[in-house]
Amino acid sequence: MTLLEDRPVTTQSPISVPRSPVRRRRHTRRILAGSGWNLLGVLVGLVMIFPVYWMVTSSFKLGVNLRRVDPQWFPAPFTTDSYRRALEQPRFLGSLLNSLVVVGSTALIALVIGFLAALALARMNFTGRKALVILVITIQMVPIEGLIIPMYLMLNKAHLTDKSIGLILAYLSFVLPFTVWMLRGFIAAVPKDLEEAAMVDGCTRGQAFRRIILPLAAPGLVATTVFAVIQAWNEYLFAYVLIKQNTNQTITVWLDTFITTKGVDWGALMAASTLVALPIVVLFAIIQRKVATGLTAGAVKG
């Protein structure tokens, strides 16, 4: 646009002179239209984020201010009392711990198994490789909630309902396929030439793997782990069906039981929701950067 404005001055073309007022008018119109779009953009952004804003601010409000006829738009006075009440809720910390155990184990197992398989799928040539790749993609499309009935029946028979191990197994059914798929992509993105060059220079296959593939695929590994953690942390249906005893419950189901008990303590509920969302938001922020630096930084160029 600045180029267009400059042109009448720099060029000697005769037709550019009569055109310039039109251009100027068009320019101002564009600015006006632009500010209209900007206004709309801000508005949309505000509407989108409002529920999150409302959750966080509600968690910092006094009980009286939560129950006002005219809503209180900012939390003043500011209090963390709701968080204290949320933490004091029976089984909140226990459920949090259960979630941590299940999510951590799921992610770890998926990562180890998935990495081995992804390495083979991305880097080795063997009969059936293509079929396996197709299998891994197809499996991701299976609506796992359709499998909840047989899984419940089987785990029930094996006396694994109400146990973390049963839930971990169930979670692997949806975490593992996409872990393999993502890792395969990240490993395949490491240029083969680098690995081959290392092997020409005398590295064994194991050394080439450790010194070339692993460091270069590391950001991808982090991103995949985080995705696995997010998926498992957010899961609700399996935990709801497979774990019946409250003491073994995960945090997502705990949140739901908290709502249905009589007379909702909205402040504490919003505080608990904020606490449950917080680790996921932080992880999201981490992979945003990691993935960006990992994929764009010049590690490969150097």
Binding site: G41, P71, I134, L176, I280
Partner: protein, 325 residues
Amino acid sequence: MTTTSAPLPPAPAATSRRRGGRGPGPRSGFTPWLMVAPLLLVLAVVLAVPLVRLLIVSMQKYGLDQLIGGRTATFVGLQQYGDILTSEDFWAALSRTVQFVVVAVGLTVGLGLALAHLLAKVARPVRTFLMLSMVTVWAMPPIIAMPIWRWLIDQRFGVLNYVLFKVGVLPTRTFNWFKEPLTGWMVITAIVVWGALPFVVISLHAALTGVSKDHVEAARLDGAGAWRVFRFVTLPAIRPTLMIVITLSIIWDYRVFAQIWLLRDIGANKDSYYTIGIWSYVESFSNKNFGYGAAIALISVLLLGVLSAVAVRNVLRSSDEESRS
């Protein structure tokens, strides 16, 4: 460890050893199979076996007697499938599911396209703010949306009710959204669309920035209006992304469970919220009629299978293009 020089059946191995080729290296004997073995084992246990079991149970009368009493289930063949396909409940649930998916996907993709265009039009700080707001919503665990939205539409202190009442949309502040199925579904749809929008907008925005500016400019100079530019220049360019986004949205919205399950509790007439997924769940876990529920679940899986096949083909094609470039 098998090395590259491992002696393999001579003739075929020699031909498949394409050092400089595109293939992922020389054949490596059994090692790759050892590496994928754990994956296959776990997938067999957590996916293949349950899938077979689902098929078997769907052909059995399987209730509490079998679950706790340990009695053997009676085989009834395809009878339960017949019952389902001839029952009114099934067609009601199917039509409810389809309606919900059509509306939710239409709104998500329509709004997503509009917002992706908006992102391209606004000034940089506004774009950053919009992106930040989108990513924050994206990062929210879906389960969190339920307490939040329940609080937003709370009958006594819900801020959404307050605003909509002030604006004149709602007749009363204490409006109960789940009194009528229609308004209840509106809330559920709003929650689902709200949660799904960020992914759609960000994907489509990325696709839009990839559209050649020269082509758009050329079309404009040729006198094409905004709609024609979109229809004949932008749309073909973003088509692959759009297709993937639409298929994924359909699959995700078809699978929506918690949003419906947790909110329908608020109101009466809970049956008006039975989608196929919810119905299957209720039949198996509330009515303890696992065989019947399994048959519904299997029909549901099959229905989705058609869509998924399309999605798989899309993903495969795009990954092919990736490896080719």
